[in-house]
């Protein structure tokens, strides 16, 4: 049987979770003190995602770098590949907060957007 140890990041409690994959293919989550722990553990083990934040080069801007982020979370395993894409981007001022900087990054269906006006 497959066993995993995780720390839930939903709230400051930081419950230590023990997750077991059952023979029927389901998940048994222990150690959580609320329902969100179960959902987090299963998502984290089956399709973990993260919001990625970084910067891109901006020309004629108030600063040389523009902060950007993925609009929603992307698969965790694509984070470094996404950084390679983000690091090649050069934009030109003016940019508005929320402007799409990269559409549908790596085919994830998620846009990378500007995090501030510049």
């Amino acid at each position: 049987m497959e066993k995993h140890k995780l720390i839930c990041i939903n709230c400051p409690m930081g419950c230590r979770l023990e997750v077991t994959k059952t023979e029927s293919g389901g998940w048994l989550v222990e150690g959580n003190q609320c329902k969100r722990g179960t959902a987090y553990a299963i998502k984290e083990l089956t399709e973990p995602t993260r919001v990625l934040t970084s910067t891109v080069v901006i020309k004629n801007g108030f600063l040389p770098r523009l902060p950007v982020r993925t609009q929603t979370a992307i698969p965790k395993e694509k984070i470094f590949e996404a950084m390679d894409v983000i690091n090649k981007i050069v934009v030109t001022s003016p940019i508005k907060v929320g402007d799409v900087i990269i559409e549908n990054i790596l085919g994830t269906g998620v846009n990378v957007i500007a995090s501030r006006n510049m």
Binding site: P12, Q33, V57, F62, L63, R65, R69, V97, R116
Partner: protein, 420 residues
């Protein structure tokens, strides 16, 4: 000399929220003074997400969170001065400031809000042994170089201190291609939020060494390596536990210090527990009409709580200007007892509290399954069960006015009580 109803010193999240709230409470002539080149404070370099969960119910990046307040301030036509350094605040609320455009200026204010924030503890403040090569940065300095100026600060990195900025920078440096070799924490527990340990260290397999510290820095021009060692209960390095790292950079995330030189010059009393001014329920310091909010009062973990506290200061200053703050009625002081390191506010005039008294506190140690006990002198007012308390996570309690109104006591105390 110029005249204003309210002068706010510092245009970060605290100052912005305070100024906006004062305007919402009918204060007309407001000036925000900022020493940096733009408004927004430290949020402008905190490009990671996780801001705004309480205030906006969304996870925003730092610049987005700041941007919303800056837009609101501008839509209200609240005046501000950038690149302007305040040199002095006198007892009668005359502010002396200087910038390249206006030169030396003096401003008479009816009320002042201090929102200067905090600064990072540096290498000089923690007595690290070894040489002094380049490549030793505070985590916040590295954050500004990378996120705003576009300079990478190093390739192989050790981080001393597990505060949130250090954890965030461990991830940021890794994403930008650096190798973060270790995060080293002198205490037996991390000073950062658990979610940051998971998302910033565990996600990237960066080891966290608790009860360890840096005992040597090597290199003459640039950092060439550091040595860490385990420490005993008295924080003394244990011989034989040394680990050497080949690295070019050491980041320090070893604490934040409220920036209170002006507060002291203005004659406000400082609480030795918070290193910030003593404040009352309306966030007014011991100086009449001088208010304070945000990290200058006590260092927060979440900007959302800074915003809430600063709105209280903005409203307090508005009431003061309008002569609506009461000095009469039931008053008491707060006092941290067993296990509690500080409580903000330190004094309370109950007549000025509308529904609930907001109390912020930190504990001294990590506790599981304990109670926070609030007493008026020796009488128990309220007990709150807590599954988890940690010094790195500020506690926020709201005490309904009804539960203390009419009771006569000198001190409201809060202590940690461990279950028998």
């Amino acid at each position: 000399m110029e005249n204003y109803d309210l002068v706010v010193i510092g245009g970060g999240p605290a100052g912005l929220a305070a100024a906006i709230e004062a305007r919402n409470n009918s204060v007309q002539k407001i000036l925000v003074i900022e020493r940096d080149r733009e408004l927004g404070g430290i949020l402008q370099q905190c490009i990671h997400n996780g801001f705004g969960l309480h205030i906006f119910n969304e996870e925003l990046s730092g610049p987005e969170y700041a941007g919303r307040f800056i837009a609101e301030l501008m839509s209200m036509n609240i005046e501000y001065k950038l690149d302007t350094m305040v040199l002095d605040i006198t007892n009668d609320k005359i502010i002396h400031a200087i910038n390249q455009k206006d030169g030396y200026i003096t401003i008479q204010a009816k009320a002042v809000i201090l929102s200067m924030g905090c600064r990072e503890r540096t290498a000089g403040a923690i007595n690290i042994p070894g040489t002094r090569p380049s490549g030793v940065f505070t985590a916040g300095t590295a954050q500004r170089y990378i996120n705003m100026e576009g300079y990478m600060v190093g390739k192989r990195v050790v981080i001393l201190g597990s505060g949130d900025i250090g954890l965030i920078m461990a991830r940021r440096m890794t994403l930008e291609g650096a190798k973060v070799l270790a995060v080293v924490e002198v205490l037996p527990f991390s000073g950062g939020l658990t979610r940051n340990i998971v998302q910033c260290l565990d996600d990237f397999n960066i080891p966290l060494y608790l009860s360890h510290t840096v005992i040597n820095i090597k290199g003459n021009k640039r950092v060439e390596g550091v040595t860490i060692a385990e420490v005993d209960q008295n924080r003394k390095p244990i011989p034989g536990t040394e680990i050497d790292y080949d690295c070019d950079t050491l980041l320090l995330s070893v604490g934040l210090i409220p920036e209170n030189e002006l507060t002291v010059q203005a004659g406000a009393e400082i609480d030795p527990h918070t290193n910030g001014p003593l404040v009352n329920e309306s966030m007014e310091t011991s100086r009449d009409g001088i208010f304070a909010c945000g990290n200058v009062v006590h260092v927060h973990d979440l900007v959302d709580f800074v915003t809430e506290e600063s709105r209280r200061a903005g409203k307090g200053a508005a009431k003061y200007i309008q002569g609506k703050l009461s000095n009469n009625g039931q008053t008491f002081k707060t006092k941290p007892l067993n296990g509690v390191s500080y409580i903000v506010p330190q004094t309370v005039r109950l007549e000025n509290v509308e529904k609930g008294l907001e109390l912020f506190l930190r504990v001294r140690n990590v506790y599981k399954n304990v109670k926070l006990v609030m007493k008026g002198d020796d009488e128990v007012i309220k007990e709150i069960k807590k599954r988890n308390l940690a010094p790195g996570e500020m506690e926020h309690l709201t005490l309904p006015v009804d539960s203390i109104a009419g009771k006569s006591f000198e001190y409201l105390t809060i202590e940690v009580k461990e279950e028998a």
